[in-house]
């Protein structure tokens, strides 16, 4: 196991630049991802969120700057050692045809296998635990292609859980899910334990497009704009009209959720502001 410094953030980036060929997408970015809990990256299309995530998985090499995970500089980590610490669920992943849920989840154990090694008892334990936590035990034998969208996304999450990494990166895990399944998945993600210390929550970094979902699930929100961190803090600190205007060019009102207290973003168009219209339905509701 990698010795980790408990007072260090889960991930620390200092002066990190990332890009493709001539295009610099992330420019001299500093970021601390707190240890434990859910950090959500938000930002407009092309703001550099996905590039940043690629940098966090070391899929893109750092152009400059440094990255440390659990207090240790990541330069010189072997890919397999890194994969035992940081897991990734990419956007819209594709499994080979005919693959069953159990076969998929089993792939999560690859970074733990020895050269040409077979399966061991801790592999069984991790796969069983991941299936159980995601509620997929009864679907273990089923092919992925036979599952509903919500079940399939749970199977992919189980793959990431089987990897037993204390830091998990999820790239838009709720795309293609309906609202009920989005909430379902987010509640599951929120309750994930740290595999190295199950008494505390795992560190999850997610890219989310849906701001109200982000506000509901996040402990910490990082708004990315132009390859830099534009704002970060709790959902109530970041999801304010000024930040939304800067980062998304979005005019919005923000109000606390009456039950849970997290901010709720209500986007406004120019026409909304001009007319201040209330729909016939709302008028009927306020009259009744």
């Amino acid at each position: 196991m990698i010795p980790s410094d408990p007072s260090a953030p889960a991930i620390r980036l200092r002066g990190v630049s990332l890009g493709y060929d001539d295009a610099l997408v992330v420019d001299e970015l500093d970021l601390d991802v707190p240890l434990g809990g859910t950090t959500v990256l938000i930002g407009a299309n092309g703001s550099g969120k996905t590039t940043l995530l690629r940098g966090l998985t070391r899929q893109l090499p750092l152009r400059s700057g440094s990255m440390s995970v659990l207090g240790r500089d990541t330069a010189g980590w072997s890919p397999r050692e890194f994969a035992r610490t940081v897991a990734l669920l990419p956007q819209a992943p594709v499994a080979p045809e005919g693959m069953t849920v159990e076969q998929l989840v089993d792939r999560g154990r690859h970074p733990h296998r020895r050269l040409l090694g077979g399966r061991r008892a801790d592999d069984t334990e991790a796969v069983a635990g991941a299936l159980e936590r995601t509620g997929m035990v009864e679907f273990a034998e089923r092919r992925l292609s036979e599952l509903s969208g919500g079940q399939r996304q749970r199977a992919w999450l189980a793959l990431v859980l089987a990897q037993s990494a204390p830091v998990m990166l999820l790239d838009e895990p709720t795309s293609y899910l309906d609202l009920a399944h989005q909430l379902d998945l987010m509640d599951l993600v929120r309750d994930l334990p740290d595999p190295r210390d199950p008494s505390r929550r795992a560190t999850v970094v997610m890219v989310l497009h849906e701001l109200n979902l982000a506000a509901r699930v996040a402990d910490h929100v990082v708004a990315v704009h132009g390859g830099r961190v534009a704002a970060q803090g709790t959902p109530s600190q970041v999801l304010v009209p000024e930040v939304l205007a800067d980062v998304f060019g979005l005019d919005a009102d923000v109000t606390p959720d009456p039950l849970l207290g997290h901010p709720v973003v209500m986007p406004r168009s120019v026409a909304d502001r001009r007319t201040g219209r209330i729909t016939p339905l709302e008028r009927a509701a306020s009259a009744g």
């Binding site: 953030p9 069953t100 792939r107 077979g118 035990v137 309750d191 505390r200």
Partner: protein, 369 residues
């Protein structure tokens, strides 16, 4: 112990540490793994026995039958007039070289199938065997090279075709390079090289003498006629080197099945692995082709048959053994069962072409590329 970190979330009262893994989940996973592991073992053992049976049929039966007793005696060194020569110089070498070439082609198909994630990706569709044929016929036409020298030219041709295809398909942008060789680009480049190589073969054939034309025609159709202990030794040594390398790469590629992003996430470097798989696969196909001539579609057919037998689990020994069984069977049918003697490659081609069409149809119906 207080955890001091920037913006640490407030301790969450809702969070409960997880329960230990339940017995039911553990039982389900244990049962599924035992079953899957058993299945692959049974399939590999079954195919190995089938291969031995097919080789026995090839050696003992046919127009000239040999009794088991005579065969054992001949292997023990007893000279039986006529039978000794036919067994040691004809039937046994054919069966052995067929099995070895089939193992190489099957393994090559397995490497291409897994690394390119496409059922149509196979060295005999993507120009490797065509390149080998072009160099072999070219060597005969322009260099007057025959026999082993022609085989060496074939090996060189297979590797040259691979190099050209890789060079065309490797992206120039850093992003594409980091993500690995694009499957589609590789396939389009392969088809172009295959077409070019076929044109070279056709052109070179025109300048051959009548005698050499026959040699070239038999060689390009893929035949085990040239089986000799010298070729068997060379192919055997090449396979002894290449198959373990292929086995390791095939194992290490397991995360690549899930795409480049997840392969990275699971701690592999997909680009060098895929490159290694393609080079090893092409070398396997090239050494097999150098020994026997191109045996059409053996590599292409082996992987879907193997995947069917293992229920979708990639297994290199299974794919290799499927290739070996196909070649030995095709050689027996072509040489002994039909009224005319047909080169082995003609039969494998006849069996493989409908399969390729079926793969094309099912593949496009699913909307994959």
């Amino acid at each position: 112990m207080s955890v001091v970190s920037l913006h640490a979330p407030a301790p969450d009262g809702d969070f409960h540490p997880p329960e230990p893994v339940g017995a039911e989940a553990r039982a389900v996973v244990t049962r599924l793994r035992r079953r899957a592991g058993r299945r692959v073992v049974v399939v590999v053992l079954g195919l190995a026995l089938l291969l031995l049976a097919l080789m026995a049929v090839r050696i003992l039966l046919g127009r000239y039958t040999v009794t088991v007793g005579d065969f054992v005696a001949i292997l023990g060194g007893t000279q039986i007039p006529g039978a000794s020569f036919i067994v040691l110089e004809e039937k046994l070498p054919r069966a052995v070289i067929g099995a070895l070439a089939g193992l190489g082609l099957g393994a090559a198909g397995g490497m291409f199938r897994r690394s390119l994630r496409n059922p149509l990706a196979s060295p005999d569709v993507l120009g490797m065997t065509h390149g080998a044929a072009a160099f072999a016929v070219g060597a005969l036409a322009f260099g007057q090279l025959r026999g082993i020298q022609m085989a060496a030219a074939a090996l060189l041709g297979g590797l040259a075709a691979t190099a050209v295809v890789l060079w065309f398909s490797a992206g120039t942008r850093r992003d594409t390079r980091a993500r690995g060789i694009g499957g589609d680009r590789f396939i389009v480049a392969g088809i172009a090289v295959a077409a070019l190589a076929q044109a070279v073969v056709a052109g070179a054939m025109l300048s051959l003498s009548l005698h050499d034309l026959q040699t070239a025609a038999i060689w390009t159709a893929g035949s085990l006629n040239a089986a000799s202990w010298e070729r068997i030794t060379m192919l055997g040594v090449a396979l002894l080197v290449l198959l373990p390398v292929a086995g390791w790469i095939h194992w290490a590629m397991a995360p690549v099945d899930l795409g480049a992003d997840l392969a990275h996430g699971l701690g592999t470097r997909p680009a060098p692995l895929v490159l290694g798989a393609l080079v090893t696969g092409a070398a396997l196909a090239a050494v097999a082709t150098a020994a026997t001539g191109p045996l059409a579609f053996v590599a292409l057919m082996s992987s879907p048959i193997a995947l069917g037998l293992t229920r979708g689990r990639f297994s290199l020994p299974t794919t290799a053994l499927c290739g070996a069984c196909l070649v030995v069977l095709a050689d027996f049918v072509g040489a002994e069962l039909l009224g005319v003697t047909l080169p082995t490659g003609v039969l494998t081609g006849a069996a493989g072409a409908p399969l390729m069409l079926w793969l094309l149809l099912t593949n496009s119906r699913r909307g994959n590329t």
